[in-house]
């Protein structure tokens, strides 16, 4: 199948805009008002635009995709050709993104993710909206989920005909011209009030770093104009407050735009989400590919009884997950609803977290007190070398180490049963991660020289999830040495048991040996 014909002008335009501006601005700057040179620059722009259009037409003509019974085949490339075949069984996520322009033209981008490789495995830019929805539905129905595979294996002869006709009818149902939003069981819809709350409670630090970058450039010129030191200081402080407020509101607005109309549905064995005010995102996550489920709540969210939910698969490469964090996340909902939803997605028993031993808290007190003393020392240095200010006032930070340590102790914990490991950590943003035993890849016990003094060990439960690399993985921090060993052994045993490597009898023998 071909891409949508309109993809040629849209792609060409978006590319030409990038090229064209660079040429135009660069050309204008270089020519410096010289009419002849400006003419050359304009000519250059026109040549570039023609080249881009020609390239996009060639791209369109040379791009071919086909969804077969068990794979998605894509042949593409203008100069160097690439033929790619993606087994549907290996597909992790299928995302449909429709930007504002694409929505007006009835177009959509389809991205298909598998666990391998660094980038998105297949990107169809652009197909018609209907084709995108069909593709998404067909991938879902044609993919044999591991659950089906297991059923088939127990039945010895996979009853392909039956399953096929069933999935067909599902696909046919999916193709019926019902509105895109009406299918499946609605698990969660974000109300406008909660959305607004989410925007206000979440703070995107990335925006802040941008403002700081601007401020460092702008500040010296501003400082030069403010000759009167006292007034200058007041203005600076007021400006900083206004800036922080502005950043907060902008980041809230960004969140609101990103998550407007968020809906989470369950369609067959898939989770399906939709969100976005201008750019609509619509993605599927097969529950059979789910790696971890985590509930997060910051101090503020907890204060008002809210929490958010994140679902992780191995599809996105680390750091590549589209902006707005984990995709099939419920950005904000009442805590009870979030836990209910988490249980529905991954049925975990009652979680009874055990905290690190008491001595860990003493360790945190010392650590935070040392950090506080460090701040005081830094303040003293700044006071002596740069601007004189009452640096000793910073000493009030040091006693705060005690409540901070208590809090750290109270937010770290672990729980494990035969099917799941649950870890909790996070001082400001507490994160409770549920790892199904059959998703565990390796178990690591880590002990730094500092931990060794206190006989504490951290247990890392590694999964194939994409967020683990950025420190978001499941870690049981600061366990007692013996507990850590028992936990690690337990988790490995449960993993082996749950993937069917080990029978129940050997497991019983193993636990008896403990």
């Amino acid at each position: 199948m071909k891409l949508h014909p309109l993809s040629v002008p849209v792609r060409a335009l978006s590319r030409a805009l990038g090229f064209g501006w660079a040429f135009l601005i660069g050309g204008a700057a270089l020519s410096g008002g010289n009419a002849a040179l400006t003419g050359v620059a304009v000519l250059g722009v026109m040549v570039a635009v023609v080249a881009v259009v020609a390239y996009e037409i060639a791209y369109y003509r040379r791009f071919d995709y086909e969804l077969t019974e068990d794979s998605l085949d894509i042949a593409s490339g203008v100069f160097s050709r690439r033929e790619r075949e993606i087994p549907l069984r290996r597909v992790q996520n299928v995302d449909v993104t429709r930007s504002l322009v694409a929505r007006l033209l009835g177009l959509a981008v389809v991205d298909v993710e598998t666990a391998g490789g660094g980038s998105t495995e297949a990107s169809l830019r652009f197909v018609s909206r209907e084709a995108a929805a069909d593709l998404q539905a067909d991938v879902r129905t044609r993919r044999t989920t591991p659950g089906d595979a297991a059923d088939a294996a127990t039945a010895a002869t996979p009853d392909a005909g039956d399953a096929d006709s069933e999935s067909r009818s599902a696909a046919d149902r999916a193709r019926e011209p019902t509105p895109v939003g009406e299918r499946g069981e609605l698990l969660f819809a974000l109300s406008n009030r909660d959305l607004l709350l989410y925007g206000l409670l979440s703070f995107n630090p990335r925006l802040f770093s941008g403002i700081i970058a601007v401020a460092t450039v702008a500040a010296p010129s501003l400082g030069g104009r403010m000759a009167v030191p006292d007034v200058g200081m007041v203005v600076l402080v007021a400006g900083a407050v206004a800036l922080a407020l502005g950043v907060w509101l902008v980041s809230a607005a960004v969140r609101v735009v990103q998550f407007y109309g968020f809906r989470l549905r369950r369609v067959g064995g898939d989770l399906r989400y939709e969100r976005g005010l201008f750019e609509r995102r619509d993605g599927t996550i097969p529950l059979s590919k789910l790696q971890t489920v985590s509930v997060e709540d910051s101090v503020l969210m907890r204060r008002y009884g809210f929490a958010s939910l994140a679902v992780e698969t191995a599809g996105y490469a680390p750091g590549q997950s589209p902006s707005g964090g984990s995709e099939a996340a419920v950005p904000i909902a009442p805590r009870a609803a979030v836990f209910e939803l988490a249980r529905e997605i991954e049925p975990v028993a009652d979680i009874d977290l055990s905290r690190p031993p008491e001595r860990a808290q003493d360790r945190y007190v010392r650590r935070y007190a040392l950090a506080g003393l460090g701040v005081v020392a830094a303040g003293a240095l700044v006071s002596r070398l740069v601007v004189s200010f009452p640096w000793y006032a910073l000493a009030v930070l040091v006693p705060l180490a005690v409540p901070a340590a208590r809090r750290a102790h109270a937010t770290r914990g672990v729980y494990s049963d035969s099917d799941h490991v649950v870890t909790q950590a996070g001082w400001w943003r507490r994160k409770t991660t549920v790892v199904p035993a059959h998703r565990v890849q390796t178990v690591l016990r880590k002990q730094t020289v500092f931990q060794r003094r206190w006989a504490l060990t951290s247990v890392v439960i590694d999964t194939a999830g994409s967020r683990s690399l950025s420190g978001g993985g499941a870690v049981a921090i600061d366990r007692d040495g013996g507990d850590a060993d028992a936990l690690a052994d337990d988790v490995v045993d449960c993993t082996l048991l749950s993937v069917g490597v080990r029978g129940d009898d050997t497991a019983a023998a193993g636990s008896a040996a403990d």
Binding site: A314, T442, K446, A464, G465, L469, G473, V492, L496, V499
Partner: protein, 159 residues
Amino acid sequence: MERLDARVVVVWLWRVLVFAVVLAGAAGIGSGALDVGVSSAAAAVAVFGVVALLGATHALLRYRIWRFDVREDTLYIEHGVLVRVRTTVPYVRVQHVDSRRGPLERVLGLGRVVVYTAGSRGADVTIPGLSRERAADAQETLRALAIESEPESGEGDAV
């Protein structure tokens, strides 16, 4: 519990030596250029001595701590001087097994085995410094165990 071949210390010491020479060179040039009141030669020798001593101690401790065990269902590894890490890799999670030999390792008759999983953190687990035969043997054993432990139902799919 199995230990590494003692010859691996030679490989590590060689790396320490190279590192120390590079740092000493940098220190020598740096002190010459910045004119800190120390002769280039003295700075280079001092840096070389400190780095070589620390590196050699680290290499020896590393050898003393390194342990691994090919168990029934899992590969167990214990290593790390400053951060002690104990890794358990179920064979069913092994994606593929490499055996690698660098030039110096080949001269010494050593090899190392790298075990890959689909995980994100401990995705590749290396056992360095095995004798050539042991490395080949370990690779074969791990490969066989990984295939053998694969459940037939397909439930064990890593991702």
